[in-house]
C-alpha cells in the first residue's frame, strides 16, 4: 500500500520526520517497506497485514498516526445528505439481491454526467499511489476507495438491460470480460450481477466491460457493496485474479461505511462530472451493521502482558484508537469497536491494541517462571546421536553439504529411479525442483563433479531427509546418511562405517552399504533405521590381570575363502582366544593377529602351542590352508 505524505496530511497534522514516523508505524504494526522521495513529497510503502482491511486506505493509515500522536483526525467534509435528497426525475431500477451472498447493497443513480479526463489534482494523487487515471468517473470511484477503504463500482446505467440487477451465484463456465479487456471463464459459485440477459459484474473483484463507464456514458449507477469474504476469496483463488477491491473484501470491508463512501463519491461526481441524482438511495441489507461491544478485564490484560499498566492509561490508549472505552465494573472496561476494525473480535485482540500503542519496546524483559518440563515429548529428536556420526565423518576428512530436497526428473532418471514411483509436487517452482528425493546420491554426485576442477581429494557427506512412497497416502520420511570419496579406498570407506557402527553398538556388515561408481566410492544408509538399532549403553569390563600372548599367523588359502570365514573359524578353537583380527593380505597370503588371554593366570607357552596346533589343523582341513 502506497501512501503519500501530502495526502495523509490532509487528515492529520504530522510533525514527525518521515524516518521517525515510519519507525513508529512499524512498531505499532504498519511495517514500512520503503520510503520514496518524490519531489517535495514523500511516499511510504507499507506492508499491510492480512487482518487489517482498514489500513488499505489513506484514512485508515491517518487514523493509526492519530493514535500514535494522540491527535484528532479531520475527516473529509461531505455536505450532501443522500437520505434527504428529492430527485427531480427518478429512473427505474429493480434490484434483486440476497443477504447471504451480498450482505449489503448500497447505491444510487446519477444522470446527466459528462465523462472526461480527471482534474490534475485527482490524476496526480492516483499516479502517486501507482494507479493509472482513466476518466473522471472511474478515477473518483478509485480515489474514494483508496481514501476511505470501501470499494465502489460505477455502471453505465443505460447498459443495464431492462434496468434489472440480479445478484446471484454462477453455475460455472460463464464467460466474463473484465473492464480492462481480459476474458475469463468463471468458476462455479462466483457472485455476479446480471441484468435481464447477461452478467454485468463480477462482484467485489472486477466490473464487466459491457457495462463500464466510458466517454459516451451519460448516466451511472454507483454501487458500494459489502461482500462475503470467503466467497470472494474462492473466486479470486480459482481465477488467480486479484484487485484492490478484492483484497479489501477478502479481509472484511467496513460494513458500516458504505453510505459514507457513497456520499463522498456522489459529491465528487457532481462536482467533477456534473449531473444530478436520479434515484432514491438504495441500501439493501438485513443487518444494521452497528459497532459491537467487547469487554476487557484489566487483571487479565496485565497478567498476559506481564506489566501493570494503570487503568487510566489503558482508558487513554483505547480512546486514542476510537474504541470508546467505558468502565463497566471495578475491573472491566467495555469498548465499542468501530465497524472498520473487523480484526477486533476477542479480548486478546484488545490486549494487543493496548500493548502495541503502549509500545513493545518499553516493556521490561523477563524469563518464564514455570517449572522446567521433565516428561518426554512426542517427536523427540536427540541431536547428540547424529553428532557422533558427523564427528566420525568429519574426523575422517569428509565435509558436510546441505542440498535441496526437491530434485528434477532428470536427476531421478540418471540414477535409475522411476519418477512414477516418486513423490511429486503439483505446482513446482520449476521442472528442476519437481520431485522429492528418494535418495541423496544424485546430489552428492553433482557436488562431487562441481568440486572436481578445484580439488584433487574430495570427501563429502550429507545427513538429510529422503521421501518415499509410491503415492501420497503413505508418505514416509527417513533420514539418510550418504557420503562419497574419490581418494579413499574401499577399506578406508568401509572403516568409516565400521567405526560408526562400533560407536553405536551395532553389529552389522558395513560393506553392503557401499557402492562403487566411476566418480568415487559412495555409501548410503538409512539413518532412521540405524537410530532404531542403536545401543549406547556402556559397561566397564575389567582389564586383564595377566599378560596376553600375542602372535601373528600367516596362511595361504584359496581366494574364495573370506577373511571373515577364517577369523570366525580361528576364534572357535578356544575360549582362551581373546581376539582375532585380520592384519594384512599379500597375494593369497593372509596374516591374522591372534591374542591369547586367560582370566585365570599366566598362559604358558605350552598351552598356547596346543591351541595353535589346533588352529592350524582346522584351517588345513577346512580351507586347505598352507602355513607360511
Amino acid at each position: 500500500m502506497l501512501a503519500p505524505l501530502s495526502w495523509l496530511k490532509e487528515y492529520i497534522d504530522i510533525k514527525l520526520s518521515s524516518k521517525e514516523l515510519s519507525e513508529r508505524l512499524t512498531e505499532v504494526g504498519l511495517s514500512t517497506e520503503r520510503i520514496i522521495r518524490e519531489g517535495d513529497d514523500v511516499i511510504f510503502e507499507f506492508e499491510i497485514t492480512p487482518n487489517r482491511p482498514d489500513l488499505l486506505s489513506i484514512i485508515g493509515i491517518a487514523r493509526e498516526i492519530a493514535a500514535i500522536e494522540n491527535k484528532e483526525i479531520k475527516y473529509p467534509k461531505v455536505k450532501i445528505d443522500l437520505k434527504k435528497v428529492k430527485p427531480q426525475k427518478i429512473l427505474p431500477l429493480k434490484i434483486q439481491t440476497n443477504s447471504e451472498i451480498n450482505p449489503r447493497f448500497t447505491g444510487i443513480i446519477i444522470d446527466g454526467i459528462k465523462v472526461k479526463e480527471s482534474p490534475d489534482w485527482l490524476r496526480e494523487r492516483l499516479i502517486k499511489i501507482g494507479q493509472r487515471p482513466i476518466n473522471n468517473i472511474v478515477d473518483i470511484t478509485n480515489y474514494v476507495m483508496f481514501e476511505l477503504g470501501n470499494p465502489i463500482h460505477a455502471f453505465d446505467y443505460h447498459k443495464i438491460k431492462e434496468s434489472v440487477m440480479k445478484v446471484h451465484k454462477t453455475i460455472g463456465g460463464e464467460k466474463f470480460t473484465s473492464v480492462d479487456g481480459i476474458s475469463y471463464r468463471l468458476p462455479k459459485g462466483a457472485v455476479v450481477i446480471s441484468d435481464s440477459e447477461k452478467i454485468i459484474d463480477l462482484c467485489g473483484i472486477k466490473g464487466e466491460l459491457n457495462s463500464g463507464t466510458f466517454e459516451n456514458t451519460k448516466t451511472i449507477f454507483i454501487r458500494v457493496p459489502v461482500e462475503v469474504p470467503v466467497l470472494i476469496r474462492k473466486t479470486t483463488t480459482s481465477l488467480s485474479l486479484r484487485s484492490e477491491a478484492s483484497s479489501i473484501f477478502e479481509r472484511g470491508v467496513n460494513a458500516g461505511g458504505t453510505v459514507d463512501a457513497l456520499k463522498r463519491c456522489v459529491e465528487l461526481v457532481l462536482r467533477e462530472a456534473g449531473g444530478q441524482i436520479a434515484s432514491e438511495l438504495f441500501d439493501i441489507k438485513k443487518e444494521v451493521f452497528l459497532p459491537w461491544k467487547l469487554n476487557l478485564e484489566l487483571k487479565r490484560l496485565n497478567k498476559i502482558l506481564g506489566i501493570s499498566i494503570a487503568e487510566e492509561e489503558v482508558l487513554k490508549l483505547l480512546l486514542r484508537l476510537n474504541l470508546n472505552p467505558l468502565k463497566k465494573t471495578k475491573d472491566i472496561i467495555e469498548v465499542t469497536v468501530p465497524t472498520y476494525r473487523n480484526d477486533l473480535k476477542i479480548e486478546e485482540d484488545l490486549i494487543e491494541e493496548v500493548a502495541r500503542l503502549y509500545g513493545y519496546n518499553k516493556f521490561p524483559k523477563t524469563i518464564p517462571q514455570g517449572q522446567i518440563p521433565i516428561k518426554q515429548i512426542p517427536y523427540l529428536k536427540d541431536y547428540e546421536i547424529e553428532k557422533k556420526a558427523k564427528s566420525i565423518l568429519v574426523a575422517s576428512g569428509f565435509s558436510e553439504i546441505s542440498t535441496y530436497s526437491l530434485v528434477s526428473e532428470k536427476d531421478l532418471l540418471e540414477n535409475e529411479i522411476n519418477p512414477d514411483k516418486t513423490l511429486r509436487v503439483d505446482n513446482p517452482v520449476s521442472r528442476e525442483f519437481e520431485y522429492l528425493r528418494p535418495s541423496l546420491i544424485s546430489n552428492l554426485k553433482k557436488a562431487l563433479l562441481q568440486n572436481k576442477p578445484y580439488f584433487e581429494k574430495i570427501n563429502l557427506f550429507e545427513l538429510g531427509k529422503v521421501y518415499v512412497g509410491s503415492n501420497i497416502d503413505d508418505p514416509k520420511e527417513f533420514y539418510f546418511l550418504c557420503a562419497v570419496s574419490n581418494n579413499k579406498n574401499f577399506y578406508e570407506v568401509k572403516g568409516v562405517i565400521e567405526k560408526m557402527f562400533e560407536d553405536y553398538g551395532i553389529n552389522e556388515e558395513g560393506a553392503k552399504y557401499i557402492e562403487i561408481f566411476d566418480e568415487g566410492i559412495f555409501f548410503e544408509l538409512n539413518f532412521s533405521d540405524i537410530l532404531s538399532k542403536i545401543n549406547l549403553s556402556k559397561k566397564y569390563k575389567p582389564i586383564p590381570k595377566y599378560p596376553p600372548i600375542i602372535e601373528d599367523l600367516t596362511i595361504e588359502v584359496p581366494e574364495k575363502i573370506t577373511a571373515r570365514d577364517i577369523t570366525e573359524e580361528i576364534k572357535k578353537q578356544s575360549p582362551l582366544i581373546e581376539s582375532v583380527t585380520f592384519q594384512s593380505i599379500f597375494r593369497n597370503n593372509r596374516t591374522f593377529h591372534i591374542v591369547y588371554q586367560s582370566k585365570q593366570g599366566n598362559l604358558t607357552t605350552k598351552e598356547v602351542a596346543r591351541i595353535r596346533e589346533k588352529i592350524i589343523e582346522v584351517l588345513k582341513q577346512k580351507f586347505k590352508a598352507k602355513i607360511i
Binding site: 490486549i351 517449572q371 565435509s399 497416502d473
Partner: protein, 345 residues
Amino acid sequence: MEEELIQIKNSAVSLILDAKNYKELEELKIQFVGRSGRLTLAIKEISKLPKEKRPEIGRLANEVKKSIEDTISTQEIWTKKETSDELRQKLDVTIPGIKPQIGHLHPMTQVIYDVVDVFKGLGYQVADGPEIETDYYNFTALNMPPNAPSRDTQATLYLDTRNSKAKPGEILLRTQTSSMQVRIMEKIKPPIRVIVPGKTYRVDDVDASHSFEFWQVEGFLVDENVRLTDLFGTIDYVLKKLMGKDIKIKFATTNFSFVEPGVDTYMECTVCKGKGCSFCKMSGWSEIMPAGMIHPNVLKAVGYDSKKVSGFAFAIGLSRLVTLRYEMEDLRLLTNPDLRILEQF
C-alpha cells in the same frame, strides 16, 4: 633359563623407564642389548640347551628383546626432546605444521547445534516432525481456516494426489515448522517447552534472500501465567547468546493468525551494521524472529483452556540467522556444495 630371561626383561624395563636423560639411556642400551650386554650373552647360551627346548626359549628371548627395544625407543623420543638441542636446531620451526586432514560441518548444522544448546539450557526439548504435512496441521489448526487471507503470505507447494485417497490441496510441504505446535500439544499437557528445527518450503523464486526451501526453528512454551514480557526476555536472551551480546534488537507489532498479540523481532543488520544494504533491503534491520502469544483458538483446537494456560510461540529464520552470523550476502551459499565455501567453517 626361562627365569633368567624374565628377570633380565623386568630389570631392563624398569631401569629404562627411570632413565633421566639421553645419556643414561644410551648406557642402559649398551648394558642390556649391546654386543656384550646381559641379554645378548643370555641368548648366546640358548644354543647350549637341549634341542627340544630351544624353540620355546628362543621365542621367549625374542619377546624379551622386543619389549626392551620398544621401551628404549619410546624413551628415546622424550629424552631426545629434552636434551638434544642440536636436533631442534636442525629444524626450521617456522615451516607450517602438517594439519590433520579433517572435514567441516556445514554452517547450518553448526548454527542448529548452537540453537539447540541454548534452548536446552532453558529447559526446552527438541522435536522433529514431518515435512510432508496435512492442510490441517499446517494451516487450519493454526487459526488459518480454508480461504483465510492470511494464507496468502505463505504460498504453498502442494503434493500430487493423483492415484490416492487424498483430495488435491490436502497434502502439502509444510510452509512453517509451526505445524508441529498442534501435533505436539494435542498429545501432551502443559507445561511444555519445545523447539522444532527443520526444513520448510514455499513457492518463491530463488534469489539472494529468497528460496523455495529454507530452514526454521519453531519454539513454543505453554504454562500457567506465561506473559508477553517472558517472550521478550526469551527472544532477547536467545539472540544475544547466538549472535553476541552487542547486537541490537527491536520489537514490532504484526499479525500471524496463530498468535495474539503478535510480535516481530528485528535485528540490526550484521552485514552493513545498520547502514542499509541490499541484504536488509536498505533498512538497516533484518526481520529475524516472528513471535507472539499463542492465539486462544489454537489452544482451543488442542483442548486447552485459554483462561487457565497461556503460552508464546516464535520462529527463527535459521537460513537468515546463518547468513547474518557469517555475513554471507547470499542465501544460495547455504545450498552450494562448493568446498571452497564449506572449508571456511
